[in-house]
Amino acid sequence: MTDAKTFMQAPDERGRFGEFGGRFVPEALMPACLELEIAFKDAWSDPAFIEEYNTVLRQFAGRPTPVTPLLRLSEKLGINVYAKREDLAHTGSHKINNVVGQTLLTKRMGKTRVIAETGAGQHGVATATAAARLGLECTVYMGEVDTVRQSLNVFRMELLGATVVPVTSGSKTLKDAVNEAMREWVTCVSDTHYCLGSVMGPHPFPWMVREMQSIIGHESSRQLIELGVATPDFVVACVGGGSNAAGIFSGFANTSARLIGVEAAGGAAVKNGSPGVLHGMRSMLIQSEFGQIEEAHSISAGLDYPGIGPEHAYLADAGRAEYYPIGDEVVLDALQLLSELEGIIPALETAHAVAWITREAGKTIPKGSSVLLNLSGRGDKDVAQVRSLLRGE
C-alpha cells in the first residue's frame, strides 16, 4: 500500500470506485437500478435481513466453508498454501453466496421473478437453485454456443424449474448473454430482478455482489488466525468478472497481504485492456482500436469475459492489487497437480490461480510465504472437457 487509504469500502454516491464503476444503462433500467440501490442499502443495514441471509448461507449453502492447509502442495513448492474451499458450497462454487443474497432481496422488493445470464452454467445453476428454494420464477439467458457445450447444465437448470433461453446474438456466449439479459430486463423490470453473477454491471451490482461475497474473506481471515496465520503474505484468486476475488480480497484489503487476481490470458482485461464502458459500467475492457468489444478466449468458460469488475480496475490502478494473466497451456497441469497431491479437483477457473501460485513459488512468492488460495469451485463440471483435452480429442 502506498498510502493510508482504506480499500474496499462502499463506492461513492455515483457508484464509482475511483474512476471506475458508475451506471451506464438505458433510462428504462435506471429506475430499477436506483430502486435496487435503495433496497440493497436498506436490507444490508437491517439486522433481520443479514440474519436471514446468514442463516440461509449456513443452513442451505453449507457455510462456513473450511480453509484446508494444502500440506503436500506446500511441501512441493516450499511455501505454505491454504485453500478457502468454495468448492464445498452448495452447487459447487462461490456463486451461491451472491444468489442467496440477491434472491432474498428480490423477495424483499416484492418481485416474483429473477433473470440471470450464465456462461458455462455455474451462475445459472446457482440462480435456479436459490430461486427454487424461494419459489421465484427463473429465466436464464445463455449463449447458444454454451447451451450446446454445456447441455447438462441446461438440463440441471430445467430440473430446478428454470427456463433456459439460448442467446443467438453476437458471439452467442457470455458477453451476449449479459446483453440479452439486460434487454429482457428492460421489458419486465417491474416484477423481475436481474440477478447478475459477478462484480460487474451498473451500480449497485459491483458493490452489492462484492458485499455478498465478502463472507469468503471474512471467514478466511478468522479461519487463518485459527490456523496460526495472522495475515497471509499472498491472497490469490482467479478473476472472470471478479466476484470470488473481490469476496476474498475483502477480508484482507486493509492488511499487508499482497492481493493477486489471476486472469485468463485470453481475457486479461487489466493487462491487455483499456478503460471502456460495457454492461453498465466503466472498467477495463479488451477492445479494438475503435472501441468494439473483443471476444475473450479461455479454456475455462467462467473466465471467458472481456472485462473485469470496476473495483478490480480501481484496485489495479491504485496499486493495491495485482493482476496477472495465465495461459491455457499451464492450467491443465495445475488441475492435475492439485488433484493428485491434495485430492481436490478444482474448477478450470480456479486452476488458473493454482497455476500462478505453482509458477511463482520461489519467484514472486518467496520461499516460506503463506498463501491463501481461493478455491472458487469444484472441477466436476469440467472433467469431461479436461478428459477430451488431455486425450487430445
Binding site: R14, F24, P26, A28, V186, H279, I293
Partner: protein
C-alpha cells in the same frame, strides 16, 4: 438553444409532425443515398446509428445491422467520412453506445461528429447521471444531447430528463428494446411526463413499425421515430425507391 432544437421547434411551430427515420451507418456501401432518399420522401431529421458490438438497447434487427456494418470494416472515421457526402437540408443526429466515444476520446469524437454535420446525439447507455463530461464538451461544439424517457421513469425524473434534453426529448413508447411490437404502449403517459418538465419537442419511438402505429404516436407526441422496420427493409436489400415509398407511407399517415 442549440441549432438542432431551433430547427425542430420550427418544424413543430409549422404544425408539422416530425418524422425521424433511423439508418445504420455503413450497412451498405450506398447507405448515404438511402438517407438522402428518406429526406426526399419527407423525413424531418435523420438518426444515424454508429455500429457497436454490444448494442444493449437494440433488438435483433438493429443488432444484425450493426454486425453487418462492422463486418464491412466501418468505424467512426469511415462513417464520418461518409457523412460528409450526405447532402440534405434536415438535421442529422447520431445514435450509438457510449464506449465508441469513450474510446475515441470525448472531445475528439464530438469534434469529428459536428465537423461531419451531426447536430445531435442519442447515447442510450449514457445515463443522465453519467453525462456531465460529455455534456460539457458538447456544449462548446453546439452538439445537442437527447435523452430517452421510459415508461419506468417517474415524473420527477422525467422532468429532469426533459430539461436536460436538447433538440428533442425521446419518449420511449414501451418497456422494450428497439424492434417490432404489437402492444399499445405507454407513450401518452411518457409524453405527459416530459411535458410536465419542458416544452421541448417530444418524439415517440421504440417499437413503431407501421404507419398506423406512427399515426397514433404522432397524435401523442410531436414526432415519431422509425427504426427497426426501416432497417429490416434495408437488410432485405431495399434501394432508394423502396425507401422513399416506405417513408412516404409514414409521412402520409402522420400528416
Amino acid at each position: 438553444m442549440k441549432p438542432l432544437e431551433t430547427k425542430l421547434r420550427a418544424v413543430r411551430d409549422s404544425g408539422r409532425k416530425a418524422l425521424v427515420p433511423y439508418f445504420m451507418a455503413g450497412l451498405t456501401p450506398d447507405w448515404t443515398q438511402h438517407v438522402e432518399a428518406a429526406v426526399h420522401a419527407g423525413a424531418d431529421a435523420v438518426e444515424i446509428g454508429i455500429p457497436f458490438s454490444d448494442p444493449m438497447m437494440d433488438g435483433v434487427v438493429i443488432q444484425e445491422a450493426a454486425l453487418t456494418s462492422l463486418a464491412r470494416g466501418t468505424n467512426l472515421d469511415s462513417i464520418c467520412a461518409d457523412l460528409a457526402k450526405i447532402s440534405v437540408d434536415v438535421p442529422l443526429i447520431t445514435m450509438t453506445y457510449f464506449n465508441i466515444f469513450h474510446h475515441y476520446g470525448l472531445e475528439r469524437s464530438i469534434g469529428k461528429l459536428t465537423e461531419s454535420g451531426i447536430e445531435g446525439a442519442i447515447v442510450p447507455d449514457l445515463s443522465l447521471e453519467e453525462s456531465g463530461p460529455w455534456h460539457e464538451i458538447s456544449n462548446s461544439y453546439d452538439l445537442a444531447n437527447i435523452f430517452l424517457v421510459a415508461p419506468s421513469t417517474n415524473t420527477e425524473r422525467a422532468k429532469l430528463l426533459a430539461q436536460a434534453s436538447e433538440g428533442f426529448c425521446y419518449a420511449s413508447a414501451r418497456m422494450a428494446v428497439t424492434g417490432k411490437s404489437s402492444d399499445e404502449g405507454d407513450a401518452a403517459q411518457v409524453v405527459a411526463g416530459i411535458r410536465a418538465g419542458s416544452d421541448i419537442p417530444t418524439y415517440v419511438g421504440i417499437g413503431i413499425t407501421t404507419p398506423k402505429q406512427a399515426k397514433d404516436a404522432s397524435k401523442i407526441g410531436d414526432g415519431v421515430i422509425v427504426g427497426s422496420a426501416l432497417v429490416q427493409l434495408l437488410i432485405d436489400g431495399a434501394g432508394p425507391g423502396k425507401i422513399e415509398e416506405f417513408i412516404t407511407s409514414f409521412r402520409l399517415a402522420i400528416d
